[in-house]
Symmetry: C2
Subunit: 163 residues, 2 copies
Amino acid sequence: MAGIPIYSSAIRPEWIDYNGHLRDAYYAVIASEATDALMDRLGLDAAYRARTAGTLYTLEMHIHFLREVKQTDTVEVGVRILGFDHKRIHAAFEITRAGTAEAAATVEMMLLHVRQEGERAASAPFPPEVSANLAQLAAAGAALPPGGPGSRRMELTAKRATP
Amino acid sequence: MAGIPIYSSAIRPEWIDYNGHLRDAYYAVIASEATDALMDRLGLDAAYRARTAGTLYTLEMHIHFLREVKQTDTVEVGVRILGFDHKRIHAAFEITRAGTAEAAATVEMMLLHVRQEGERAASAPFPPEVSANLAQLAAAGAALPPGGPGSRRMELTAKRATP
């Protein structure tokens, strides 16, 4: 798998669409659940959220759908930290069917650390230990082979690989 | 709402995350269900799929998360056809909370028409009536005011609007 292993999931029956495969949006659900696992890894877990009212908001998500996933598959998710600053994380996830080498999907996300105050949320810097964990995870990922296709401006004119 | 009204949905309780809002991935589920409604509008409905084994596969999806959505909200989805050729559709969806003017999210998708043959799927041209429907919908959308932010390459260095 490309990236640092962070999450794996069975495919729930209600995720299968009329085409007989994992519906597009449930790749996003898998990536979202992988982000929860990433938060645990970084020290932004439930205890942190309860203690500080700090959490991550997703600003953007871009998915490339590369291969079909079936009800009988188990998917594994790897992560790379492509970049981060004092309050944002640019992460790339790769979703692979267990037992196969090629990515079924690549997912990029831009995540923002916020503090929730009642109905409002304001962006807030990471605590130092989270920044240290980010630096460590980013360095570990940078040593790995490059991942699959990343976010880009979509346009019809571009030459595309079609399944 | 920006775009041509195509779908609306209540927010299901299981879509709310630990932050108390619609989880990021369920914006994708809403856009995916709006794509089903778009298929119905274009003549790519269940009867077409059963008769021809033709369907749409999603190649890419890019979401900008602009505003929080709550359990009590109803969301409305508008669509524009940004472009299409003989087998692909580049569509933009805008998700709005009913009763508000600003988009809660914008979603771009690149969709490919395929014919499923057993375990395989091969890209296939649209039938002429679907192409005609696409042309009509694209023209109707082109007359509307421009939509929200579109797909792009994510990077930390770009100046960003943060909530």
